[in-house]
Symmetry: D2
C-alpha cells in the first residue's frame, strides 16, 4: 500500500456517522433514554431523564457499539432497497424468526457493560415499549430488523452502566459519611 | 497417570447427575415445560405441554447444558453452606446486581440453539413466572442465584428448538401437499 | 399482508445459497476440512479427511451457521463494490483492527457446538493456515474481512463436533466390550 | 431484611480479594503483562512491559473481570480439595475436553473490551506461553482448569485495550501535528 493510500481510521468520523444515521433512521437519544428510564426507575427512583441520556451517550461513545449500529443500519437499508442476496433479502425484509444475526450484533453491544444487561435487553426486546414499537410497526415502509434490537441493546447497556455508577456513588457517600 | 487412574468420562453419569440435582433443588421438567408453553403458545396454538417437555429433555441431553447446570447448582449450594471465599460468598448469597456470572452460564445454555433465544431468556428472567418465582422467594432458605437463570435459559433454548422444528414440519407438509 | 405475498421461508434454499456462495467466494468444503484436520489430528490420529468434511457439512446444515455465512459474505461483497456507508466501507475494506463485527458473527458459529471451540477458532484466526492465508492475501482483489473469520469458525465448530462424537464412540465401545 | 443485615457490597474488598487470590494461586501482574507483550509487540514495537502491566491493571479494575476471577479460582480450589459433586469434580480435576464453563467465564472477560480480543485469547490458550505453561504443568499439585483460561483472557482483554489506546494516541498526534 502506498503512503498516499494509507488507511487512517478517524474515530470522530465513526462517532459522527453513528449519531447521524441513528437520527436519519428515526431514533434520537431522548427516546433511548426513555427506555432506560423504564428499565431503571423502580431501582433508582431519583433517576432523571437527563441522567439516562448521559448514559446512552456514554454507550454510544464506544467503538464496539458504533460498529454494530452502522453495520445493522446498513443491512436494514439494503433490505429496504431490495439489494441483498435472495434468501438473505427475504429473511431480513420479513424479520424472520430463525434469523438471529440481529440479536448477535445486539449482544455485542450489551456485553460491553457485562452480562448483567442481558435480562434488560430480552425484556424490552419482547415488550417493544416506546420507540421500539414505532420501529416495528412498518408504517413508514422502513425495515428495522436490526435497528430495533440494537436500540434495545443500547438501552440495556446504559442501564448496566447506571447500575455500576450508582453503586460507586453509594460507596463514596458511605465512606464520606463514615458509616458502613 | 497410571492406567488404573485413567480418567474416562461417562456421559450417562453426567446426564443422570444433572437430572437428579435439578430434582433435589426443586425443579422438575414439567415446570420448565410450563415456562416454554408460556413463551410459545401465542406462536403455536396447537402446542401441548408434552411437546414442551420433550423439547426440555432434548435441551437437557446436551453436554454443554449439563455442565452449566451442575456448575451453577454447585455454586448455589456452597453459598447456602457459607463455604465460599468472602466476597464471592456475599455476592452469590445476596444475588447481587453487579454479579453476572449466573447470566454468563445461562447464556451458554441459550446459545446452544442460537441467538434467537436471547429475547425469551431475558423476558422470563425479568418477569419470573411459575417455577422462577418459587426459586426466587427464598422461603425454603435455599439460594438459587444460578439456578433461576439456568432454568429460564433451558426454557428459552427449548423454545428456540421448537421454533426450528415447527418450521421444518411446515416445510415438510408444504412439500408433501404439493402447495407453495 | 395478503395471502399471496405470505412469506414462507424455504430452508432448502437457504442451505443451497450458503453452499453456492461459499464456492463463488473461493471456499470449498475440502479446504475447511483440512483446517479441521490440522486442529484435530494430534488428538485423533486415525481421523480421515472425509470424516472432517462430513463434520463440516453437519456444521453447514445449521440455520444459525447459514445465516452468519450469508450475512458475512454479503458485507464482504458490498465492501468490494464500494457500496457501504462511508466509515463502514473503510473499516471493512481495510479489515480494520478495531472493527469486531466479523469476530461476533464468527462467534455465533462457534457457539452452536459450545464454548469448547473458542480456543481453536482463535488459534486458526491468528495463524491463518491453508485457505485462510489465501483469503487474506488480497491477490484476487476480493475482500474477505468476514469470510476468513467465518471459515475459521466453521472449522472450529466442526472440531468441537468431532470431540463430542469421538467421546460417544469411545463410550459405546467401552460398553460393548464390557470394560470400564 | 433488617437494617443490621443489610447487604452493602464493598467494591474495594472485591478488588482486593481478586488481587490477593491471583497472587496466592501463583499469578502476578508482571507475568500477565508478559503475555500481553508477546501478543502486541509486533504491532507496537515501542510498547514497554510497564505499559502492558498498566493495561492489565485496568482490566483487573473491572467488576465483571473480578467476578469471573474469583468464581473460577473458587472452583479450582474446591476441585483441588475434592469437594465438588461427583461428575463435576471429575471434569474440573481432569480439565476435561468437553467441559467448557472455563472458556465461558474467560469469554466474559474478553468481551469487556469487545470481540476483537477473541483471536488473542484463543491463540495463547492453545500455545500456553509463559505463566500459562506453568499453570498447566500440575507440578505443584494445584488445579488451574479455570485460572489458566482466565489469565489468558485478561491478557487478551489488555491487548484489546492497548489497541484502542494506541489508535486514540495516533489520532491525537495527527490532529496536534496538523497532518492527516
Amino acid at each position: 500500500m502506498s503512503d498516499t493510500n494509507l488507511y487512517r481510521l478517524n474515530s470522530k468520523e465513526v462517532a459522527k456517522a453513528t449519531e447521524e444515521w441513528l437520527m436519519k433512521r428515526g431514533v434520537n437519544k431522548g427516546q433511548i433514554g426513555q427506555l432506560v428510564m423504564l428499565l431503571q426507575k423502580d431501582y433508582f427512583p431519583e433517576l432523571t431523564l437527563d441522567e439516562c441520556i448521559e448514559n446512552v451517550e456514554a454507550v454510544l461513545a464506544k467503538r464496539e457499539v458504533q460498529n454494530a449500529v452502522l453495520t445493522g443500519i446498513q443491512l436494514d437499508m439494503l433490505a429496504e432497497e431490495g439489494k441483498l442476496l435472495p434468501p438473505l433479502q427475504n429473511m431480513i425484509w420479513n424479520d424472520e424468526g430463525l434469523y438471529g444475526c440481529d440479536e448477535i450484533l445486539a449482544l455485542s453491544i450489551v456485553n460491553v457493560y457485562g452480562s448483567i444487561g442481558l435480562t434488560n435487553f430480552g425484556y424490552v426486546d419482547k415488550l417493544k415499549p416506546g420507540i421500539l414499537k414505532k420501529l416495528n410497526d412498518r408504517n413508514d415502509n422502513q425495515i428495522h430488523t436490526f435497528l430495533d434490537d440494537i436500540v434495545g441493546a443500547i438501552a440495556a447497556a446504559a442501564s448496566s452502566r447506571i447500575a455500576h455508577r450508582k453503586q460507586a456513588e453509594r460507596e463514596a457517600r458511605a465512606e464520606g459519611g463514615g458509616s458502613v
